[in-house]
């Protein structure tokens, strides 16, 4: 560059295309250094202008006027933690996703709002509570890494648990009773540990029990109800979730929650898993609270066919009005574990035992022996030389605006909104087939998504329903694991045009690993039993043919009846 070279602003003027700058441009063509500067400027201007054009009008205003609203959380730092997102914002506290530069772990930071009792004593009490929580060390509990006070507000830093809470896991589909037993057994085990260490949860509900990415049951927000109490300490508050509230806590000015309150919460969550309702579900919060005060639980939904009697009795004990009559968390864990474990062991000899006992024992008993045992992951056995999980398809129908498992509201009625689900080991190809009551075959295209470390397939889609079409008879839903052969091969496995024989309308048939489960009352040697025999034979032939193409086959046989008259249906 020499003296005759243009200044930055002169060159910029030329690069923007300003009039009267032809001399500068001419110079740039001859002087290598200026030519390069000129080209660089044009590149920069081009980049800025295209960026500017890419913003829409509203962003322009933000950029040029007010500070951008785009910048993340109002708080970018809390102490030494960097906020990378907000998880939830509640009445008493805010929960942030945070990052600790010294600790490569996903964390959450719960920062309580300012308390009306903003004094040293309250802060110390809160901190002591936090320190107690930090001493706990159990795989079922998120670790507490830090506790402290920031600008007069207590905070806790906890391990972040990615996963889904029970409400999210089971919002559409109930777990099988023994899976429910397993989950609550694990949760009870975790709480038993906390109780031994003198910590009470205080608000056990389906929202506070998580299934993490590894499929483990974990309990979140342990001790935080107590923490809230200490921090707020206004005495008159009724904490907790009304639908799940132990009667002793609903009664009036809050007494400190005890371990028996947590056991009630476990019982209430088990009740919810089995029936889809909280024990004190009601139209309004005040109704829920009234029912909670009176301990007014309706146990009749636990009397459903297929519900193990021991499980429902245990659930009732945990929901006893008197805290002293409830089992301890430890006892509940042990009893539920035994129940969850017993069932798969039973399946091997269940057929012989049941056949011998069937003549002697009341039909309901058979009902629960045979009750929905098909689903849970824990039961998976070897199919084709590999341990594989594949469930029998399940059907959910909407009745009175509520999705319920079909087995509770048999038979299927034409026009019922239905949804079919099936779970399979992740990454396994799976084909869902529907052989309907007219003998027509449909290959279902289902939504696939992960639920609790398994892949769920959902037809017509996740959370979607379609009206059941077709006529009276028996619908067969097959789940076939393995890469699908040509469609003609699949069709060749079915006697097209020849539907399955009828089955009684209060009975579901499930085929799993060549073994049938009859879910429903059935008198031995009756005409109904002979009907079922014929249906089983029919399904077995299809099963044999499908097995030439697929590694694993499951089938659900559904009794299908005509729609009820509208008046009758309500």
């Amino acid at each position: 560059m020499n003296d005759s070279c243009p200044s930055d602003e002169e060159l910029l003027a030329a690069a923007t295309g300003e009039e009267g700058t032809s001399q500068v441009r001419l110079h740039a063509e001859q002087c290598a250094a200026c030519g390069e500067r000129f080209e660089a400027l044009r590149g920069e201007i081009g980049a800025l202008r295209s960026f500017s054009r890419s913003l829409d009008a509203s962003q322009q205003t933000q950029l040029l006027g007010q500070p951008t609203a785009d910048d993340p959380p109002a708080l970018d730092r809390i102490g030494r933690y960097h906020v990378v997102g907000i998880l939830e914002s509640g009445g008493q506290a805010d929960v942030y996703r945070v990052l600790d530069p010294d600790l490569a772990r996903p964390l959450v930071l719960k920062l309580w709002r300012l308390s009306p009792h903003n004094d040293q004593a309250h802060r110390e009490a809160a901190i002591n509570e936090g320190r107690l929580l930090a001493t706990l060390d159990h795989a079922g509990l998120p670790r507490v890494f830090d506790v402290g006070v920031l600008e007069d507000r207590p905070y806790l830093v906890l391990e972040y648990v990615p996963g889904r809470n029970l409400e999210q896991c089971f919002d559409r589909q109930r777990p099988a009773p023994d899976e429910a037993a397993r989950i609550i057994a694990e949760a009870a085990g975790v709480l038993a540990y906390a109780h031994r260490r003198g910590v009470v949860h205080g608000d056990v509900t389906p929202r506070n029990i998580m299934i993490d990415a590894e499929g483990r049951t974990r309990i979140i927000d342990l001790g935080l109800a107590r923490f809230d109490d200490i921090w707020e300490a206004d005495g008159g508050r009724i904490g907790g979730t009304p639908e799940f509230l132990p009667p002793e806590l609903a009664a009036g000015p809050r007494r400190p929650a005890g371990p028996a309150g947590d056991v009630f919460g476990l019982g209430a969550t088990l009740y919810w898993l089995l029936t889809s309702r909280g024990p004190f579900a009601a139209a309004s919060v005040s109704d829920s609270l009234r029912r909670a005060r009176e301990g007014d639980v309706d146990f009749s939904p636990l009397q459903l066919p297929g519900m193990p009697g021991r499980l429902s009795r245990l659930c009732r004990r945990a929901l006893a009005i008197e805290p002293a009559q409830r089992p301890t968390a430890d006892e509940l864990a042990r009893q539920l574990e035994r129940l969850a474990k017993r069932r798969p062991k039973m399946r091997r000899d269940v057929m012989t035992v049941v056949i011998l006992l069937a003549a002697l024992v009341a039909i309901e008993t058979v009902g629960w022996f045979l009750g929905r045992r098909a689903k849970p992951a824990a039961e998976s056995k070897v199919d084709d030389g590999r341990a594989v999980l594949l469930s029998v398809p399940a059907m959910t129908v909407v009745r009175r605006n509520e999705p319920v498992n079909l087995s509770n509201v048999l038979p299927l009625r034409t026009g019922d909104p239905i949804s079919i689900s099936c779970s399979v080991q992740p990454d396994e190809p799976l084909v869902l087939l529907w052989f309907d009551a007219q003998g027509e075959l449909r290959i279902l295209s289902a939504d696939r998504r992960k639920v609790d470390e398994v892949d769920g397939l959902f037809y017509p889609g996740w959370n979607r329903f379609e009206p059941a079409a077709g006529s009276e008879g028996t619908d067969l839903i097959f789940a076939c694991r393995g890469v699908a052969p040509a469609e003609s091969e699949i069709r060749g496995c079915f006697p097209l045009g020849q539907p399955a024989p009828p089955i009684p309308e209060n009975l579901l048939l499930r085929l799993s690993r060549r073994t049938f489960d009859r879910d429903g009352p059935l008198e031995p040697q009756s005409e109904a039993a002979r009907q079922v025999d014929r249906a089983e034979q029919f399904i077995r032939q299809i099963d044999d043919r499908l097995r030439r193409h697929f590694a694993g086959v499951r089938c659900l046989a559904v009794p299908h009846r005509a729609a009820l008259e509208a008046a009758e249906a309500d």
Partner: protein
């Protein structure tokens, strides 16, 4: 190309530099969220993935060797984000064989494939942050000159008339702020222009 300051990318390699981390999160959180969302991930899962990316970065930043090649940090950050997404895809049940193959084939990619929105989103976010900083630190008149002439491509004479200054002042201001924008871009190991000439020279 680098100013006297250490760039943000260099400062953030020191975990104890809290200001740098705060700044880093502020700049990159919206970018990563936008990118992951654009790839079809829902809001809640996107937040999980972004948190995972930052968690990985805490460990990985120390290993990152900055050279001053343009766009190198951009590509490296993409690799980290991409690895987090591949892991997430695996954890969530790979839906179809095609997706499985996608995850397999994309596991160890060195840079975003053609058509991937990463580079555009990245440059956009950097320019957004840079321009915001420059605007906040500039005199309003100077910013008006830069904004009017460079960003909005309005005639210098009109801007000069509105502000009651000469056109020469418009260019002096615009030129100064342009230099500031250039410096700020260097903070993110980006160069302002992506002119073909420069790109060709780097190769």
């Amino acid at each position: 190309m680098l100013g006297t300051r250490l760039s943000l990318v260099e400062r953030v390699r020191d975990p104890s530099d809290a200001t740098a981390w705060a700044e880093f999160v502020t700049v990159y959180q919206p970018l990563l969220t936008a990118y992951v969302r654009k790839r079809g991930v829902n809001e809640a899962d996107a937040a999980d993935i972004v948190q995972d990316v930052f968690t990985r970065l805490v460990r990985a930043m120390a290993r990152f060797q900055l050279d001053h090649q343009r766009g190198r940090f951009r590509t490296w950050l993409w690799q980290v984000a991409h690895a987090a997404m591949v892991d997430w895809t695996r954890r969530r049940a790979v839906r179809t064989r095609a997706e499985q193959e996608w995850a397999d084939g994309h596991e160890s990619q060195a840079s975003p494939p053609p058509g991937d929105p990463w580079n555009d989103l990245y440059r956009q976010r950097v320019l957004e942050v840079v321009l915001k900083r420059v605007r906040e630190s500039a005199q309003p008149v100077a910013w008006a000159c830069f904004e009017g002439r460079i960003l909005a491509d309005r005639p210098a004479t009109r801007i000069a008339a509105e502000l009651g200054v000469s056109t020469n002042v418009v260019y002096v201001n615009a030129s100064r702020l342009l230099a500031r924008v250039r410096e700020e871009c260097a903070q993110f190991a980006e160069s302002l222009s992506e002119s073909p000439a420069e790109a060709a020279r780097e190769r």
